[in-house]
């Protein structure tokens, strides 16, 4: 397995689209092309920009329709579970729960509310993880793919929670928060699908 040695944003994009082995060859070729002793010398930046359409084409060719389907189902599942849990449970119960336990809490009412929210959200995330492992058991991906999925799942849960913690208020149902959450989960799903494509068999 080739080690990914991406040192710049352009390298990162190359590896992102082409995978580790092919990415190594492409990044090396772009560097070699810009070496001063080449008869057909090219500027690295220009050569990279010109290569982008080909790289994108290359990247998507690795993803089989089956895998796109599986990842899309996963992204939709994650989105549905997190949103459903947050809207139906955490948002409804976190505040009353916090008010109930405020008398025993050394924290302020807002902080207690957020703590209650975090606890409930963690339970929701645990439920999501059960679904995650079920999906893994069904599709039997590599451990690396499983780890990537776990990471994206955690980020999906962490990002909205952090936004919530940074924005004080008695209620957590801020519409902006909801939109940010939906977009972040969709992006995470997309990035996960693309990151996984190098390990997948061609369509």
């Amino acid at each position: 397995m080739t080690r990914i040695t991406a040192g710049s944003w352009s390298d990162w994009l190359i590896y992102f689209f082409a995978g580790p082995e092919l990415g190594d060859a492409i990044a090396g070729d772009l560097r070699e092309q810009s070496a001063t002793d080449r008869p057909y010398k090219r500027s690295y930046e220009l050569a990279f920009v010109r290569s982008l359409p080909g790289l994108i084409q290359l990247g998507w060719r690795h993803v089989s329709p089956k895998r796109i389907g599986i990842e899309a189902v996963f992204a939709a599942l994650a989105l549905a579970l997190i949103s459903a849990w947050e809207v139906l449970v955490a948002r409804v119960y976190a505040w009353p729960l916090a008010v109930e336990f405020f008398a025993f809490s050394p924290l302020s009412i807002t902080a207690t509310c957020k703590l209650a929210y975090l606890v409930l959200f963690s339970i929701g995330m645990s439920a999501l993880l059960v679904g995650w492992f079920t999906l893994n058991a069904t599709t039997q991906p590599s451990w690396r793919v499983r780890a990537q999925r776990l990471g994206s799942c955690s980020i999906a849960g962490l990002a909205p929670t952090l936004i919530l913690l940074l924005n004080p208020g008695p209620h957590d149902g801020d519409p902006l928060f909801r939109y940010i959450q939906i977009v972040s989960i969709a992006l995470i799903g997309l990035v996960t699908a693309t990151c996984c494509r190098a390990r997948l068999k061609p369509a």
């Binding site: 090396g28 560097r31 070699e32 010109r50």
Partner: protein, 112 residues
């Protein structure tokens, strides 16, 4: 065989470059060979996209080579035309030649 698709123009050019370069066919060398012979400035991304497609069709096979300082420590990827690929190049070249035959005299130079 009759239903098998012919190689595209750029695919044929890439296959020709691979056959000319032999064991020394890797990204930069292929690009320079194409530029030298056709004057076509090919991007690395376009080349690898085509090579990847040819590899999937079974016309080309790849192996990883050595890394060097000028490449930032990254390995080369060498390509070789397979027997199936050679047959396909022959088919496409014969078809192309057949189509060019009998065309006006000003095209003769392009055929040479």
């Amino acid at each position: 065989m009759p239903n098998e698709k012919f190689l595209g123009e750029f695919e044929l050019i890439v296959m020709g470059a691979l056959m000319r370069l032999g064991d020394a066919a890797y990204g930069v060398a292929i690009i320079e060979e194409i530029d030298h012979r056709t004057g076509r400035d090919v991007s690395v991304g376009a080349l690898y996209s085509t090579l990847n497609r040819l590899e999937k069709k079974g016309y080309v096979e790849a192996r990883m080579g050595e890394a060097s300082a000028v490449r930032g420590g990254r390995a080369k990827r060498f390509f070789r035309v397979t027997r199936q690929g050679q047959t396909q190049v022959e088919r496409s070249a014969i078809a192309l030649h057949s189509m060019m035959q009998g065309l006006p005299a000003w095209l003769k130079g392009a055929q040479a």
